[in-house]
C-alpha cells in the first residue's frame, strides 16, 4: 500500500474506533490478511482496514466516514461467495457483518422473519421449523453463508427450480445507501408504492449499498417430501428423463444431475453410496401436499425407468434423503479428492440444450486434455462444470482458465447466462460484454450512478469498465473530476 493510502487508512481507523465496539477495527497486517479473499481464492487483496459493525447505526457511521474520506468499501458476510464479490479493495474498508447476527423476529402470523445480515441462512430455517415454517432458498453453503450475502448475490440453491431465488423471498431491506442514508425498502407488507428498489437492490452484489436488516418470507413446511436417486448409463439418458418429467407438467422441488467424474469424486469424499457404475445420477425431489406428491412421484419414477434408469432408490426417511443430498452438496469440495485444483463455473443454458452442450463440453475437455466434472441443477439448466487442473504443473492453470472461458462462451451461444447464482463479482466482470451490449451495461450503470455516484460501494465488481456518473456516453474528453481529485479510480 502506498504511504499516502496507509496514512489515510490509519486516520480512518482512528476515526472509527470510538464509533464501534472495542476490537471492532482491525489494522494489523496479519489479521487483515485473513480477509484477503472470499470463497474464490484465486483473487486475493488485503484490505486497508477491516471493521465489524454491530448495529445499523455503526454500519451507517462507517459508510459515512468512508464517503467523507473518499475511501471505497466492500461488505462481506461469511465470505463464502464464489465470484469474488467480497474481494476487498487494497485502499478500502472491508465491512464484515459477522457481528450482526440477531434473529429479531420469527413472525409466524405474518409469515416473516426479521434478521440481521450476518445471520446464517440455515439458522433462519432452524428458528422457523418449530413453528412449522422454513426459509426456502438453500444454497449448498447454507450452513455457513449469511443472509446479507444471499441478498447481495440473489442466491439460489437446489430448490429454486420450484421456489425461486432470494429476490422472491425478501420482502424488505433496511439499506445504508452509498450517500450514507438509511432507506427502508419494503417491509413485512408487499407492494410498497413506487419503483421496486428492493427488487433492483437484491442481487446487486453490494454495489448499491449494504443491507443492515432483512425481512424474509417464511413458507409453511411441505406436508410430504419424496426424494429419489436414479442411476443412468449416461448424461444423455438422465437428461431425457428430466425432459420427460418437465414435459409432463411436473414442477419438482429439485432436479440435480452429476456425471461419472463428479460421482467418483463425491464417492471418494463422503461415501454417499451412489450407484458406482452410473454414467450419471439424478436426484429428483418432490414436495407438497401428500395427495399430490404421491401421485406425481409414481409418474416421475416411471419417466426415469422409461428413459433407462437401471436403479432407482427412494429415500425411506429424512436420514436417507440427507445421504442422497450429501453427495450432491459436497460435490465442489469433493473434487479436491481427485484433483489438486479446480475452477467452479456457474453458466446457465436453456434446459433443452443440455445434451448438446454437455457433448460439446466433453469434446472441449478431450481436445484440450483438461478433465471436466459436471454437477448441475438439471431442472433449470444451471451448469456447474468443475474444471480440474494441477497448478503445480506449468501451464495447466492457464489451460483450465481457457476451457472455463470456452464453456461460458458455449452458454452465451445457446442463449444462456454466464452466472446462474454465484454472481459476476470480480471473476466474471470480463465476460459481461460477451453477454450484454455496451448500451445494456451503460443502462445498468445508470442505476448504479443513481445510488452511488462516487462509485465507493464495492467498486470494480460486475462491470468491466465503470461508468463515471454524469458523463455523456461516448464523449469522454478528460478525466472525470472525481478521478482528478483522486476520489475515484477508473477500475
Amino acid at each position: 500500500m502506498p504511504a499516502q493510502a496507509a496514512q489515510a487508512a490509519q486516520a480512518l481507523a482512528d476515526r472509527l474506533r470510538p464509533l464501534l465496539d472495542p476490537g471492532a477495527v482491525l489494522t494489523d497486517r496479519q489479521q487483515l490478511r485473513t480477509y484477503e479473499c472470499d470463497g474464490l481464492a484465486q483473487f486475493r487483496v488485503t484490505p486497508a482496514l477491516v471493521v465489524f459493525p454491530r448495529t445499523t447505526e455503526q454500519g451507517q457511521a462507517v459508510v459515512r466516514a468512508c464517503i467523507e474520506e473518499g475511501v471505497p468499501y466492500v461488505a462481506r458476510g461469511s465470505g463464502t461467495g464464489l465470484s469474488g464479490g467480497a474481494l476487498p479493495h487494497a485502499d478500502g474498508v472491508l465491512i464484515v457483518t459477522a457481528q450482526m447476527r440477531a434473529i429479531h423476529e420469527v413472525d409466524v402470523a405474518n409469515q416473516r422473519a426479521v434478521v440481521d445480515p450476518g445471520v446464517i441462512n440455515l439458522h433462519v430455517t432452524r428458528a422457523a421449523t418449530p413453528h412449522g415454517y422454513y426459509y426456502a432458498p438453500d444454497p449448498s453453503s447454507q450452513q455457513v453463508c449469511s443472509i446479507g450475502g444471499n441478498v447481495a448475490e440473489n442466491s439460489g440453491g437446489a430448490h429454486c427450480l420450484k421456489y425461486g431465488f432470494t429476490v422472491n423471498h425478501v420482502t424488505g431491506c433496511e439499506v445504508v445507501t452509498p450517500d450514507g442514508e438509511i432507506v427502508q425498502m419494503g417491509g413485512k407488507a408487499v407492494d410498497p408504492p413506487g419503483y421496486d428498489l428492493l427488487g433492483a437492490f437484491v442481487g446487486s452484489e453490494g454495489t448499491l449499498g449494504i443491507t443492515t436488516r432483512v425481512t424474509l418470507r417464511l413458507l409453511r413446511l411441505p406436508e410430504t417430501v419424496q426424494t429419489l436417486l436414479a442411476g443412468f448409463a449416461s448424461t444423455d439418458h438422465a437428461g431425457a428423463a428430466v425432459s420427460a418429467i418437465i414435459g409432463a407438467g411436473v414442477v419438482p422441488a429439485a432436479v440435480e444431475m452429476m456425471d461419472a467424474l463428479a460421482i467418483e469424486a463425491a464417492e471418494a469424499a463422503v461415501a454417499c453410496g451412489y450407484p458406482a457404475e452410473a454414467g450419471a445420477v439424478l436426484i429428483v425431489e418432490l414436495d407438497g401436499p401428500a395427495a399430490e406428491v404421491e401421485h406425481t412421484f409414481a409418474a416421475v419414477q416411471q419417466h426415469c425407468r422409461d428413459h433407462g434408469a437401471f436403479e432407482i432408490r427412494v429415500a425411506a426417511d429424512a436420514a436417507e434423503r440427507a445421504l442422497f443430498w450429501k453427495g450432491r452438496k459436497s460435490a465442489f469440495a469433493a473434487v479436491g479428492r481427485i484433483s489438486p485444483d479446480y475452477i467452479v463455473q456457474d453458466g446457465v443454458i436453456p434446459r433443452t440444450a443440455l445434451p448438446e452442450v454437455l457433448r460439446r463440453i466433453a469434446a472441449l475437455s478431450g481436445e484440450r486434455g483438461v478433465r471436466v466434472a459436471n454437477v448441475f441443477h438439471a431442472g433449470d439448466g444451471n451448469l456447474h462444470p468443475l474444471v480440474l487442473f494441477d497448478d503445480a504443473v506449468e501451464g495447466q492453470g492457464e489451460q483450465a482458465e481457457e476451457v472455463s472461458g470456452a464453456i461460458l462462451d458455449l452458454c452465451i451461444e445457446y442463449g444462456g447466462s454466464i452466472t446462474g447464482e454465484h454472481g459476476v463479482g470480480s471473476d466474471k466482470a470480463k465476460y459481461m460484454p460477451r453477454m450484454f451490449t455496451d448500451d445494456d451495461l451503460d443502462t445498468m450503470q445508470m442505476l448504479r450512478c443513481a445510488f452511488d455516484p462516487a462509485g465507493l460501494s464495492n467498486p470494480g465488481k460486475i462491470f468491466p469498465t465503470p461508468r463515471l456518473c454524469g458523463e455523456v456516453p461516448g464523449r469522454r474528453k478528460e478525466a472525470h473530476p472525481l478521478t482528478r481529485a483522486g476520489q475515484a479510480d477508473a477500475f
Binding site: V108, N110, R112, G132, N154, G156, G164, V167, E181, V183, M185, A189, V190, D191, P192, P193, G194, Y195, D196, L197, G199, A200, R220, P222, E223, I246, G249, V250, P289, A290, A291, E292, E294, H295, T296, I349, P350, R351, T352, D380, G381, N382, S417, T419, G420, V424, M432, M435, F436, T437, D439, D440, L441, D442, T443, M444, L447, R448, A450, F451
Partner: protein, 395 residues
C-alpha cells in the same frame, strides 16, 4: 383517427404513433429526445387512466401493433413476447402446450406491457408471485431512444442488475418496453374453488389464518365483502392433479367450516377489480382482519359503500367505490384508509378515479425511498419526458 384515441386520461396527445416494431419505437424516441417531446406508451388502453394523468403528452406510442408471441420454447417453459400481446391471446397460444403465464387477467383486455408497467396482480400471486417474479428478461427503449436489455432467456440468471424489477410497476416513467421474456408454469390438470361465507372479520380472519397455516398449498386465498358491514366470502383455489385436488378440497372445506362449498368454477368476482373508483390497500397479512373492521368504520363515517375484495393471503385488498360516490366523500375515505393501512404496515394507493376525486386527495400517498427513486428517474430519463407526472411524487 377518432379523437378519443388521442386522449390520455383527459390529456390530449399531440400526436399518436403506432410503430410496427422495436426499431420504430426506437426511432420515435430518438426523435422525441431531439425535439424534447413527452412520451406516453399504451397497449390496449385499459389502464391509461391509472395513477395520475400525465402533465403533458406530446407523443402517444401505441404498441397495439406489436402483438406477436416471438418465441415459445415449451421444453424450457419460457416465452418471449412483444408488449402489445393481450394476456388472453397469450394464454390461447400457450394452452396447446399445456402451459400458461401464471398471472390473472385482472383487467379484461390487458396487454403484457400494461400488466408489467402497472405490476398488476390477481389471486394467483399467492403461489406464483407477481409479474415481476415471472419476468426473466426485458428489452426497453430508453428515453434517449437507445435499446437496452437486461436479464435473458433463462430462468436462473444473476448476470448484471435485474432492471426488469425496476421497469415492472414503473408506469412507463423509465422507458418503453418492447419485449418481455417470462417463465411459464404447466397448466394444472384440475382446479377447484372452495368458498365459505363468514359472518364477520374475526371469523374470516380465522379462516384465512387456518388455510395459510395448513399444508394444502393453495394457489390463491381471496376474500370478498361487497358491503362494508356484510358477510365475508373466503375463497381458496386449489390446483394440481385431480385426486390431489379432491383430497385438498376436502381439507380446506373442513378448515372453512360449515357451509363451505366447492366447485370447478370461480366466483363471479374472482380476479376482477371492484370499481369504478379503485383503491389498492396493503397490510401485513395478520393485520387484514383488523383493517377490514376499520375500513367498515371509515366507510360509515365517510358515507361511502366500498366493495372490498382481494388477496387476503398476501395482504393485498382492493376497494371499489360506486360511480355516484361524492368526490369529497371518496377523498375522505382514501385519507382514512391510508391511515389504517399505514397502521397495518402497508399503504393505500388510489389506482383509478375521476379527476373530481383525484382533486381531493394525493393518489399515491407517502412513499419510502422517494429521494432515491427521483435519482433513478433522473439517471434514466434526465429530461423527465417519459409519462411525466403519472407516478409517485410527481415522477
Amino acid at each position: 383517427m377518432p379523437s378519443e384515441t388521442a386522449l390520455v386520461d383527459g390529456v390530449r396527445a399531440g400526436s399518436v404513433l403506432r410503430p410496427p416494431g422495436q426499431d420504430g419505437v426506437a426511432a420515435a424516441l430518438r426523435a422525441a429526445a431531439r425535439d424534447r417531446l413527452t412520451v406516453v406508451a399504451t397497449g390496449a388502453r385499459t389502464k391509461l387512466d391509472w395513477g395520475c394523468p400525465p402533465s403533458r403528452v406530446d407523443l402517444l406510442v401505441d404498441l397495439s401493433a406489436m402483438d406477436s408471441v416471438i418465441e415459445h420454447v415449451a421444453g424450457d417453459l419460457v416465452v418471449r413476447v412483444q408488449p402489445g400481446v393481450r394476456l388472453s391471446d397469450l394464454a390461447a397460444a400457450l394452452a396447446p402446450a399445456g402451459q400458461r403465464l401464471a398471472v390473472d387477467e385482472v383487467v379484461p383486455g390487458s396487454t403484457v406491457g400494461g400488466v408489467v408497467s402497472t405490476a398488476l396482480a390477481g389471486p394467483s400471486r399467492l403461489l406464483y408471485g407477481t409479474i415481476r417474479d415471472l419476468l426473466i428478461g426485458i428489452t426497453v427503449v430508453r428515453a434517449d431512444g437507445v435499446v437496452t436489455r437486461s436479464g435473458g432467456k433463462v430462468v436462473k440468471n444473476v448476470a448484471g442488475y435485474d432492471l426488469g424489477k425496476l421497469y415492472a410497476g414503473a408506469f412507463g416513467t423509465l422507458g418503453v418496453i418492447t419485449e418481455a421474456i417470462f417463465r411459464l408454469h404447466p397448466l394444472p390438470e384440475a382446479a377447484e374453488w372452495v368458498s365459505a361465507d363468514l359472518a364477520d372479520e374475526a371469523a374470516a380472519g380465522a379462516a384465512v389464518a387456518a388455510v395459510l397455516d395448513s399444508q394444502v398449498m393453495a394457489s390463491a386465498l381471496e376474500i370478498s365483502r361487497p358491503s362494508p358491514e356484510g358477510p365475508i366470502t373466503v375463497t381458496v383455489l386449489l390446483e394440481g392433479v385431480a385426486p390431489g385436488v379432491r383430497a385438498r378440497s376436502a381439507t380446506v372445506s373442513a378448515l372453512l367450516g360449515q357451509g363451505a362449498v366447492s366447485g370447478d368454477q370461480a366466483p363471479a368476482w374472482w380476479a376482477r377489480l371492484p370499481g369504478p373508483v379503485t383503491l389498492k390497500l396493503t397490510a401485513e397479512i395478520a393485520a387484514v382482519p383488523g383493517l377490514l373492521r376499520r375500513l367498515a368504520q371509515a366507510a360509515a363515517r365517510a358515507d361511502v359503500a366500498p366493495d372490498l375484495r382481494g388477496s387476503a393471503g398476501v395482504g393485498v385488498l382492493f376497494a371499489g367505490l360506486p360511480a355516484h360516490t361524492h368526490p369529497a366523500a371518496a377523498g375522505r375515505f382514501v385519507v382514512a384508509a391510508r391511515a389504517h393501512c399505514r397502521d397495518a404496515g402497508g399503504a393505500a394507493v388510489l389506482l383509478r378515479a375521476p379527476a373530481t376525486v383525484r382533486a381531493t386527495v394525493d393518489a399515491w400517498g407517502p412513499v419510502a425511498g422517494l429521494a432515491l427513486m427521483r435519482r433513478v428517474k433522473d439517471e434514466l430519463d434526465p429530461d423527465h419526458r417519459m409519462a411525466p407526472g403519472r407516478f409517485v411524487g410527481g415522477i
